[in-house]
Symmetry: C2
Subunit: 200 residues, 2 copies
């Protein structure tokens, strides 16, 4: 004997959310059914709208529902700087730190040969094409200070340096092995100020 089929299906589909196990899924399903059906319907509608409406910025590849994201549409940023990050959450963290005024390029991941993720999957060709188009003078590599993030930075540094541009890596003021999006603004600002040029 268990819950009715529709309730079981609801508990199973809730597990597509990260960090939600069987007991949390049951708790969520019961909460929504017993006490917040309006919230659940709003969530259903927003999920659908977001999955259908949110795509990628055609310039920096971040998640957005418009053709160009708010940062790429802005004309008040410093065109000489392009910062490369792994995820849209990293862009938000850097913006909240408040010290960087250039543009971004979002890889949406990192190189991971073991998972079959190569340069094309992280948009390396688009990054190089963008560098040919715009007036950037320096590319700041702000991938995560993890093994994969370092490897990705190393690969991109090589590619960008061949275009004759300056390449820098944010300073390791951010703790090694951590995730960029969880670092506090002060540490991030420090990391941007202490960036070093990548030389052969």
């Amino acid at each position: 004997m268990s819950f009715s089929p529709l309730i079981v299906r609801l508990m199973e589909t809730l597990r597509c959310l990260p960090g939600v196990g069987p007991k949390s899924a049951q708790r969520m399903a019961m909460h929504l059914l017993e006490r917040d059906r309006e919230g659940a319907l709003a969530l259903a509608e927003t999920l659908q709208a977001a999955m259908e409406g949110v795509g990628r910025c055609k310039r920096c590849r971040t998640l957005t529902e418009t053709e160009l994201c708010a940062i790429c549409s802005s004309h008040t940023r410093d065109q000489r700087l392009l910062c490369v990050v792994e995820t849209p959450a990293d862009v938000l963290a850097i913006e909240q730190a408040g010290s960087y005024r250039g543009y971004y390029f979002v890889l949406m991941g990192h190189l991971s040969p073991i998972d079959g993720i190569g340069p094309n999957d992280i948009g390396a060709p688009e990054l190089l094409r963008l560098l040919d188009e715009i007036e950037a003078e320096e590319v700041i590599l702000a991938t995560n200070p993890t093994v994969e993030g370092e490897a990705t930075a190393h690969y991109l540094a090589d590619q960008v340096r061949r275009r004759g541009l300056k390449v820098s890596r944010i300073a390791h003021g951010v703790p090694l092995g951590g995730e960029l999006e969880y670092v506090d603004g002060g540490t991030l600002a420090h990391a941007f100020a202490g960036r070093r040029e990548v030389t052969a």
Copy 2:
């Protein structure tokens, strides 16, 4: 600068889920948008189907999408026993313990005068009407061993005893102050076996 409006709305609506704060909501939104759009659309569809399709069993008041739940539809249960619980999750916990073979009545809450929840809100009239209809000989009160659960049991014991029926309370083998749905099956079975009749 923050995420685009649709992404912000998605993060806000995800917070209707219990235990989900701003950081978890952001992590969930990013995970769904970047890696599991199919899962998110399935969740949207299931949420809507469940909120529209799941109602109450017209006999025991538990959550179900059919007129009568699976237990109330069964003809193999012990008609002499009716067990009163607070939530559908409690029914599942007792069923998984495996020692009880009677029917259930689900209060969908407990008495809580401070929140304006009185006997009508927990279905007390329906419970008494059901007792007049069926051949139950004993009502087992299995509300949570909390202050509100005890008060609810006390109130219902009074009402049921006036109908001339035997009333019992599950034994306090279950830890006091805990939630019934998280108790292991052995303890629950023990609590059922050790139930005591409630005398004036």
